[in-house]
């Protein structure tokens, strides 16, 4: 630490940078410690690969971006904001970081807070604002991103009331903590300002804290933005080399950290503040070689770098070289208006300040105090903050009804009207405006030459201001240079939009606890433990875990599902159906409500009976389906699909509350009150009879689509004769508490095979029963599904009815639900596969007519209509099973001419529809699929092709009911 000022000592901490060991003091930032060790080059720039050093001293830093390697790898961190700690290991970057492949082991959290006044920034203005607000009795939160209060006071060494400013700041902060209802958050960056005074902040609690970082979501009645100002650079040749540094940053290093950022400095300035910096550096022992004041016409026209790539060796001023290792730059000050701009506030270009400042009236209840609104004197900031903090009569009316007010007026310091933005030159290819994005004045020239005229367009064309420093040093400079090139005023051109986050935030922080199992609630049924212990694999259906299938030892999914399917079709299976949505609908208007919401009639349903129903949206498209059970004249139990349970309840509530408040109906979810077991298969009646001795189970006494209350396995139960497989089946409902007891009793019979959702899907698809959301997609009507019968012709109206009278609803090319049989009975066509008409296929060419060509498996055959003369269709099974076995040179089998290849035409290929469900069927002994096909019911028997990868799989269109079309199995 050769470059440490006398009197600045502290606890020594060891760290490494680029693999080399160094020492620094507690309280240093990584940047301060590196400068103290004489490290100048931190990394290289992102596109040009130029050496880059430390340019700033805090969040404005565009250059010194590092990768933290330990304790946890973190990319793209500003060296100027990392507190030094023992064992820190960092490496410099070439403008891009590396995401860690390891999960971040640290804990992150979030919290909500409300306050009367949120003060952002604990500099002179923020501290006086917070104190003044707290003394009115307001609930105050003071959020500041620094380690210690005082803002720039420790950087400048200025005094308040005759005392060192940093001591004054500590005293004010200490007093604030003692006041009731005041919360001081240090190391907390407010990153975004949203509607209705909602602000988001990130608190960095340190590597040793239980929670490394915490997100604060703060709703404030009033906000005081005391966010300070950033010094900005000047565009001149070589202004990016290590050793070029903002004057204010150099001042911060000598005063706050006791670090000398160089030995011999040149100062290049457009204003007075750099003289204060020069004085402080000289006091600290840095030799000030020369001050080039642009106001006197003295300009830095170039920087000469050392041969060792380590930065500035000399500075060129008006043709002569001045030896120096440090070049301090001060191009003026930009009020930090990011959060104000995000609040919806308008900005105004102030010619006297040569900066964008807040302009009233404000969009939200916000005040801007101190240098954030262009007040650049310490005394001015102190009084400004006090006015902003105490000026609030806390309102009692709602926040959203308030309008903003203008900030208190304050005299402005004397500043020059004419502002130097860039040093004129022949070649602008090393005049940088955005160091992090490597954007030069030459790039801006190119952008305007191709016709771009707005700052927003130039930003996107050049990427200026898009780096993770959010353009803190580059934004205004870029606007001013573009304005200069275009010959317009800076005010006229304006700035680009300021966006959150103000400082970089990691995804881990924003995710907080919402990771892994806590990301989304997991819902399990009463029988879940049994499923787990019996080896079930699970499928996520919404938030529910549903048993997918129950593989036995040695079984893969295909084998397990085929076995479960056979069990249901030939014996008895049981499925946990508890996740189906259940809504209890009560009240004298219940039947009328259901008549209006379902396409079919529900009011005629007898107590004790059950009816299947479909609900549509007003546009006539299927929204949900399920069964309706009539429990009493004024009470129904409605079931929904698992995924739509909440949506259907909301749908009922919406119509009841907004359109039909006259209907006396209450709806409530009882999904988790009832555990449900589907008992299905030809043996289910016997199994049920054995478990429910009081229940008369013959078909006449207990017909299809009725329900009975009884006891099953000694448990109070409601048994419904409902089938979703086409087999004789029952749904047994018991209290959720007894779900597992019922399930175990059913399996204790030894006659029942548990089956999962995959088997349920196969069985229902064999019967052509659609799954809403799988076989439908919001563009499908009941008629498209082949369910004309469920659309009432008698009811005067129901939701969706009017849409069926549209001419478009009668179009013959609407997509119908049909079955598909792949011509190869083993070919499984993936769900989602598109379907094409053979007529659009293109022959591949005559050379393929050579009889000795090898035909790979699955090759589609040319259709007679497009086949060249003399071509003959081959039995497709021969192609898929045998033709590829033909040897070149072998004879062609007797009676078979060889065939042409076909392929898809050039895109866009006309598509007829797509596969919605596709399975292997035990009952059919082959694969099959359901599909939505344009005019599908008129295409039954036609061959279509399903492009899968490079192959075209031939399929035949069939009726959508493929198994037991007569419904003979329903009653066992």
């Amino acid at each position: 630490m050769t470059r440490r000022r006398a009197g600045h000592e502290g606890e020594v901490l060891r760290f490494t940078f680029d693999g080399r060991p160094y020492e620094g003091y507690r309280g240093d930032t990584l940047a301060a410690a590196l400068l103290a060790n004489g490290v100048r080059k931190i990394g290289t720039s992102v596109t040009l690969g130029r050496p880059r050093g430390i340019f700033g001293a805090w969040t404005e830093e565009p250059n010194a971006v590092v990768q933290i390697e330990r304790p946890f790898s973190e990319p793209m961190v500003q060296a100027t904001t990392i507190p030094l700690y023992e064992g820190l290991a960092a490496t410099g970057l070439a403008g891009r970081g590396r995401l860690s492949p390891e999960p971040d082991p640290a804990r992150y959290d979030a919290t909500h807070a409300h306050c009367d006044v949120l003060v952002v920034g604990a500099g002179p203005a923020g501290l006086t604002a917070a104190l003044a607000a707290a003394r009115t009795g307001a609930r105050v939160i003071l959020a500041d991103d620094r380690f210690q209060p005082g803002g720039s006071l420790p950087d400048t060494g200025e005094t308040v009331d005759g005392r060192p400013g940093s001591e004054w700041a500590l005293d004010v902060a200490a007093e604030l903590v003692t006041l009731p209802d005041v919360r001081v958050l240090s190391r907390t960056s407010v990153i975004g300002y949203y509607d209705h005074n909602y602000l988001v902040a990130v608190e960095r609690r340190g590597e040793d804290a239980v929670t490394r970082e915490r997100v604060w979501r703060i709703r404030a009645r009033r906000v005081v933005l005391a966010t300070g100002a950033h010094e900005r650079p000047i565009a001149f040749s070589g202004n990016d080399l290590p050793g070029v540094m903002l004057a204010s940053a150099a001042r911060a290093y000598v005063n706050r950290y006791g670090v000398l950022p160089g030995r011999r400095a040149v100062v290049f300035t457009t204003g007075d503040s750099a003289y204060d910096a020069a004085r402080d550096l000289a006091d600290a022992g840095v030799e000030i070689a020369e001050i080039a004041d642009a106001r006197e016409g003295r300009l830095v026209t170039g920087v000469i770098g050392g041969a060792d790539d380590e930065g500035v060796r000399a500075v060129v001023i008006g043709g002569h070289e001045v030896e120096a290792d440090l070049l301090l730059v001060s191009g003026g000050w930009n009020p930090v208006v990011h959060l104000f701009s995000q609040s919806g506030g308008e900005l105004r270009y102030d010619e006297a300040l040569a900066a964008f400042v807040p302009a009233g009236p404000y969009a939200q209840a916000v005040e801007v105090a101190g240098s954030a609104r262009g007040v650049f004197t310490l005394a001015g900031c102190l009084t400004d903050g006090e006015a902003a903090g105490s000026g609030f009569a806390l309102p009692s009316h709602p926040l959203s009804g308030e309008s903003g007010s203008s900030p208190p007026s304050h005299p402005l310091p004397d500043v020059r009207a004419e502002q130097l933005w860039l040093v004129p030159a022949e070649d602008y290819s090393s005049h940088f405006v955005d160091l992090q994005r490597d954007v030069t004045v030459a790039d801006l020239q190119r952008a305007t030459e191709v016709g771009l005229r707005s700052a927003e367009h130039v930003k996107r064309y050049t990427t200026a201001g898009t780096a993770h420093d959010q353009g803190k040093t580059s934004g205004t400079l870029t606007s001013a240079v573009i304005a200069g090139i275009l010959g317009v005023g800076v005010a006229e051109l304006g700035t680009t939009t300021f966006r959150a986050p103000y400082v970089p935030v990691s995804f881990a922080t924003l995710a907080g606890r919402d990771r892994g199992p806590l990301h989304d609630p997991v819902r399990v049924t009463a029988m879940h433990d049994w499923h787990v212990s019996h080896g079930a694999l699970f499928e996520n259906v919404g938030q529910w875990k549903r048993p997918w299938y129950y593989p036995r030892p040695g079984e893969d999914m295909t084998a397990a599902v085929l076995r479960e399917c056979r069990a249901v079709r030939q014996a008895t299976g049981a499925m946990d159906a508890s996740t189906l949505g259940k809504i209890d609908v009560q009240g004298p208007g219940s039947a009328e409500l259901l008549d209006r919401l379902y396409t079919n009639m529900m009011s005629t349903l007898k107590v004790g009976a059950i009816r299947y129903g479909v609900m549509c949206r007003p546009d006539g498209m299927v929204f949900d389906d399920g069964t309706v059970i009539r429990l009493a004249l004024d009470r129904f139990l409605v079931t929904t699909t698992t995924g739509n349970a909440a949506a259907v309840l909301e749908w009922m509530e919406e119509w009841l509350q907004t359109e039909w408040p006259d209907l006396r109906v209450h709806c409530t979810s009882v999904t988790e009150q009832w555990a449900t077991v589907a008992l299905a298969g030809p043996g289910s009646r016997d199994v049920l009879a054995g478990l429910a001795p009081d229940l008369v189970v013959d078909t006449e006494s207990f017909p299809f689509m009725t329900w009975r209350d009884t006891e099953v396995a000694g448990i109070e139960a409601r048994v419904c004769r409902i089938s979703f497989s086409g087999e004789l089946a029952y749904e047994i409902n018991v209290s959720w508490w007894y779900g597992q007891a019922l399930w175990e009793a059913i399996h204790a019979t030894g006659a029942v095979t548990p089956y999962g959702t995959e088997t349920m899907h196969v069985l229902r698809a064999e019967k052509g029963y659609p799954i809403v959301g799988q076989d439908t997609d919001g563009t499908v009507t009941p008629a498209d599904l082949g369910m004309d019968w469920i659309v009432s012709k008698k009811k005067p109206d129901f939701i969706g009815k009017r849409s069926y009278a549209r001419s478009g609803n009668a179009r013959p090319d609407r997509r119908h639900l049909v079955g598909l049989l792949p011509e190869d009975p083993n070919a499984l066509v993936p769900e989602g596969t598109q379907l094409v008409d053979p007529a659009v296929l293109v022959p591949e060419g005559t050379k393929l007519l050579d009889p000795r060509v090898i035909v790979p498996e699955g090759t589609p055959l040319v259709d007679p209509g497009v086949a060249p003369e003399g071509t003959q269709l081959l039995d497709p099974r021969v192609v898929s099973e045998g033709a590829q076995l033909l040897d070149p040179g072998a004879g062609v089998p007797e009676g078979r001419r060889f065939v042409a290849f076909v392929r898809l035409p050039a895109a866009p290929v006309p598509m007829l529809g797509h596969v919605t469900s596709s399975y292997r069927s035990a009952a059919l002994g082959r694969t099959f699929a359901l599909a939505l096909v344009s005019g599908g019911r008129d295409r039954i028997g036609e061959r279509l092709y399903a492009p899968v990868g490079d192959r075209l799989i031939p399929v035949t269109v069939t009726h959508h009911v493929l198994y037991d079309p007569e419904g003979a199995r329903r009653d066992g």
Partner: protein
């Protein structure tokens, strides 16, 4: 994050609500009497003004009640519940 005044629960964060679009679009008294175009206007056409807009909200993660409020779409300023 809007602060939305639920008439039943008081001001709550926007995240608790579901947006219901333009208010006062009543279900037609006799849909069968409408032309296809009139029906399509009911189904699909909504205003999109810059400025004051009456809109429906549902306090989905709270009391589950629907209500109407007026919001300025340019400033997000919200009038009282109606």
């Amino acid at each position: 994050m809007l602060l939305i005044p639920c008439p039943w629960c008081g001001p709550r964060d926007e995240a608790e609500f579901r947006y219901g679009g333009q208010a006062h679009v009543a279900y037609p008294r006799d849909p069968g009497a409408l032309t296809d175009e009139e029906w399509a206007r009911y189904l699909f056409f909504r205003d999109n003004p810059k400025g004051l807009f009456d809109e429906r909200w549902n306090h989905a993660a709270g009391c589950r009640r629907w209500f109407t409020l007026t919001r300025d779409t340019a400033t997000n300023e919200i009038g009282g519940p109606r």
